[in-house]
């Protein structure tokens, strides 16, 4: 059972399309695990549709109608062959190989490794994180918004323990030290609007070099 969900307002922003690609990918990955949020999203999307329908309609020129009709007349295959649904593929599959172990990881010694993803978002650093089983991430706080989504395994910090599908949003007020579960490596997807700031006594020196 998933215990940590995106805030309702975040979900509303997602349904309205007002979200950068990095955070949006994290929300999608959560929705793929969480039926409850999924249903809420459907309600919010329906709200968008009702609002769209209730605004004053705009004039559409006959030329635009003709142009669209000409475009579809040129389509040489039947509609159903054109587009394939994502089906069992998840949104993350568009950016990450299925076998998380095969990824080329970088940085941070053995305990913490990361792999940066290009999701077309210049304002957020989006990465996969691998925490070694039982490993602790140095104590840190956040300069901006950080979203973490557990993909495999789990970890805990002073505020709770997190399992697959859990969506954790941190901001600058939270100073925490995540520890991966003992029995398996923990993989997470993260999106952050600004680098984390290490706050432990020896870790401060790391900050100038630290992107993630």
């Amino acid at each position: 059972m998933i215990a940590y969900h995106p805030d309702k307002l975040l979900l509303a922003d997602y349904s309205a399309g007002n979200m950068s690609f990095g955070p949006a990918l994290c929300v999608t990955a959560h929705l793929e695990h969480c039926q409850l949020c999924h249903r809420e999203l459907q309600e919010m999307t329906t709200l968008g549709a009702v609002l769209m329908e209730q605004q004053r309609a705009a004039d559409v020129s006959p030329e635009l109608f003709e142009r669209v009709m000409q475009c579809i007349a040129k389509e040489d295959v039947t509609a159903s062959q054109h587009y394939v649904a994502r089906g069992k593929r998840t949104a993350l599959d568009n950016f990450v190989p299925k076998d998380l172990q095969s990824i080329s990881w970088s940085g941070f010694g053995e305990t913490l490794k990361s792999h940066e993803l290009d999701v077309g978002d210049s304002e957020h650093l989006v990465s996969l994180i691998r925490m070694r089983r039982g490993g602790a991430v140095p104590k840190h706080t956040h300069r901006g918004q950080e979203i973490t989504l557990v993909l495999q395994g789990g970890f805990s910090d002073a505020s709770g323990s997190y399992r697959v599908g859990d969506f954790i949003e941190c901001n600058r007020e939270i100073d925490h030290q995540p520890v991966a579960n003992q029995n398996e490596d923990c993989f997470c997807l993260t999106s952050r609007s600004a680098p984390v700031k290490f706050t432990g006594p020896f870790m401060r020196a790391l900050n100038p070099f630290q992107r993630g």
Binding site: L9, A16, L41, M52, A57, F65, M69, T78, A79
Partner: protein, 191 residues
């Protein structure tokens, strides 16, 4: 026609497009949805507010409706919600294209699409839509303005706060109140 008769009609039309590539049925869908889509595109200020780009949003959205018709499943989403989600993604992608984003990633790559949506009893679907329609009138004008700016103008909550010159917290509480009014509070009910 009653609401449900209208829904049945749209479902017949989209099915005709999916099964037979029926251009007449598509033309009827176009006449109904294109003016809504254009108004939606125009309500985003800035570059999308121009007529030319709004037409681009209408054109691309309707062509996707044509191409994906067979993926539409009435038990997963009502047609207007399905079309709204296509339009939302299309508007974002067209704006990114015009802003010269150096990226091939498109909204459909990472947003959950209506086709991926969990099957949801059609009746329940209908109930939600009716609840929203029935309660929108009871949302205060202040709250309704927030929804308008979020969903139609595509503004983030902090952009709305800056524009309306009110604290971010006020924007958030107005949106929360509106959602509660519309009974979009499933999660709270379950917890």
């Amino acid at each position: 026609m009653s609401d449900s008769a209208v829904d049945t009609r749209w479902n017949e039309l989209i099915t005709a497009v999916a099964d037979r590539a029926d251009k007449k049925a598509f033309a009827e869908l176009f006449r109904h949805f294109a003016p809504q889509l254009k108004a939606y595109a125009l309500s985003k200020s800035g570059v999308a507010g121009s007529g030319e780009i709004a037409d681009e949003v209408v054109q691309e959205t309707m062509i996707k409706v044509w191409r994906r018709a067979s993926l539409y499943n009435a038990s997963k989403a009502n047609l207007s919600a399905w079309i709204f989600s296509i339009a939302r993604n299309t508007r974002i992608d067209i704006l990114r294209r015009h802003a010269k984003h150096q990226s091939n990633v498109s909204t459909d790559d990472l947003w959950l699409t209506a086709e991926d949506t969990e099957p949801f009893a059609a009746l329940q679907q209908k109930r939600i839509e009716e609840t929203i329609r029935g309660s929108l009138g009871s949302v205060s004008s202040e709250q309704s303005l927030m929804l308008q700016k979020m969903y139609m103008e595509g503004k983030s909550q902090s952009e709305i706060a800056a524009e309306c010159d009110i604290p971010l917290g006020t924007v958030k509480s107005r949106v929360r109140l509106a959602m509660a009014r519309l009974k979009l509070v499933l999660k709270e009910q379950h917890q």
